[in-house]
Symmetry: none
Subunit: 203 residues, 4 copies
Amino acid sequence: MADPRSNGSDLRRAILDRTRRMLVEVGYNNLSMRKIARSVGCSATSIYLHFENKDALLHALIDEGMEQLNASLQEVAASHTDPAERLEALSRSYVDFGLENPEYYEVMFMLHPERMARYPAEKYRRARRNLELFAEALGAGADAEQFDVADPAVAASVLWAALHGAVALLLAQRVDVRFERDAFAETVVRHAIAGFCFQADPV
Amino acid sequence: MADPRSNGSDLRRAILDRTRRMLVEVGYNNLSMRKIARSVGCSATSIYLHFENKDALLHALIDEGMEQLNASLQEVAASHTDPAERLEALSRSYVDFGLENPEYYEVMFMLHPERMARYPAEKYRRARRNLELFAEALGAGADAEQFDVADPAVAASVLWAALHGAVALLLAQRVDVRFERDAFAETVVRHAIAGFCFQADPV
Amino acid sequence: MADPRSNGSDLRRAILDRTRRMLVEVGYNNLSMRKIARSVGCSATSIYLHFENKDALLHALIDEGMEQLNASLQEVAASHTDPAERLEALSRSYVDFGLENPEYYEVMFMLHPERMARYPAEKYRRARRNLELFAEALGAGADAEQFDVADPAVAASVLWAALHGAVALLLAQRVDVRFERDAFAETVVRHAIAGFCFQADPV
Amino acid sequence: MADPRSNGSDLRRAILDRTRRMLVEVGYNNLSMRKIARSVGCSATSIYLHFENKDALLHALIDEGMEQLNASLQEVAASHTDPAERLEALSRSYVDFGLENPEYYEVMFMLHPERMARYPAEKYRRARRNLELFAEALGAGADAEQFDVADPAVAASVLWAALHGAVALLLAQRVDVRFERDAFAETVVRHAIAGFCFQADPV
DNA sequence: GATGAATGAGCGTTCATTCAT
DNA sequence: AATGAATGAACGCTCATTCAT
């Protein structure tokens, strides 16, 4: 308002930012259009000028998060040629993203499925692209006999599950508080990757 | 529905049972005191005679869930002496519990912390007992040089994260639908345990 | 409240009465649950204790109106043996009911059909019973060669249309204000019945 | 939708046309300025450049409807010299107009007066002109001793009531569905006119 | 002449909870 | 121990309208 160059999409931006923040603060169930409006400083009606409805607002948030996560992972993938190193870097990057952007991570991966049912399936493609980066590294590692992996696609999801579980429990503060957060994350990454390595013959 | 001759404690029992059932049927978000009351066959007010409020009711439910999960895991733990076998059986049991009691699992492990703010921290102890079963198996396996594990407590949480991630993603239907559910769960369990095994020397 | 013997259904009664009155005052489109509540002096929520929803409230109003109208007509029908006299008395009674109970009449016969779509078809039976009283008189009159009527059922609806048209226009204040209301109604009744009489041969 | 070269008066025209069409398609209650604007292809704000508010827009529409109905009736009146024939043709024309333009008819004749409070009384004159056409035919018929009519003005309103009642009930789908619509309308017209004819002496 | 942004008021409805009985 | 009546707050959303540009 103060800035004459400000246009309408500033409000859109503000709505997205506040919503993202409020999601972490009050949780999805306690989030309402009115509360968002109050927090942003506009009327509830105004939100509907920028987003068709509550779902569309959350979808937009998911889109942004996916875009950001994907950008991070792409960059990381591009800067590591060795499959094992790449996989480790990708995993760290994923966990870091989750821990550093709890607001995005919650909407993206921790929302109730029923609520996201209407999220256009086509948009999940970007989510799948993330998985493919893991799958490629796993596939390359298998070819180089670094990993004992039968199906890289399945393996990618397995790895994802391990990383997601760690992020989810950490964000929900359900991990023993005596464990240092980053160290725990690091252990998780190493453990998950170790799970794909060839095991020593039992003596 | 409620037997008129039943005493109060029976009503409490009935409320818990119906709530649990409704949780599975209609989901957490669609659960309301009135709906529970209607399903039980008592008045909404009556629920307040047995539970302070909605949160308290859910807490009681979580307690029961934890008890149930704990009972399963205790039984499994008792019937396997070999640490590796025990760990595997515990892991499978945990995943099975989650997949078979989806909405139960959600309330127990996937609800945002802010919702459970009032949930007495002390009650999480029972949750921790579950973790200890895993830690014991891991510790025993380490002693038997089956597992390459430095700190069994941390390792237990790492394993938990992997299992939880898989359950969470499966329940949220975020895992590629082409993967068969049980097979995926099995792969996850094996992978997670493999992550604790000694690795072959790279050639 | 003042009267200790008053029970909950006093509120139900009050809601019905105020709604009926408000319907005439502000019209259907401007009627809201909140306005009703404000007028009654209770909370909007309380209305839902007595009526499932807005439609159900209006349906109840229609029921009452139909009941009353039917009672009037039944009584009138019973007290006239001569078909022509009976028909005339029924017609007058119908018009009188409409003019004296505009609130009821509007909900019963002037509401938009789309709105009343959900009105249980079975309840229209009582409305049909009213028509049958007219049809019986017309049939009897035809048998007595008082009326030139081929199909009493059709004739009853034709008569109804004439009476309804007069009531509707009068209530909507669309009839020339210089015509005295009751005289006009009387003329309408006589004209409508004359329409069923044998006509003189044109000379 | 709107041709960019069109001038303002075209937009006014377009708004009226689309509103009329939408009135038929979605009904009065579901009509909103925004929906009209979307349908016309202009902004909601633009409607206010041509019509003071929603009521004014509807008033303009009523004007047009009255004009149109009046034109039909004028034409019909001009093409029949015999009073009885003319009256019949006018009645049929009126009923046809109502049945063919249902939602139009509703706005013109079935809307509650309180909604049209601001509708300038002077504009009702055109409505009265329609009535006069009926009155003239009735008067001429009385002079020709075709009709037994004391006051043609009153008789015109009585006839109007009968026709309006039929249209209103038919539009509200309150007439027995087993009656064929056009046949019923025809019967109504004949009955209404018969009501003005000299009756045979009772034997 | 035309618009996009914005809003306050209002909608029907559901919620967890309280209170008198 | 149990309930029916009642309520304030909140929900997502739509409305007619205004105003600066």
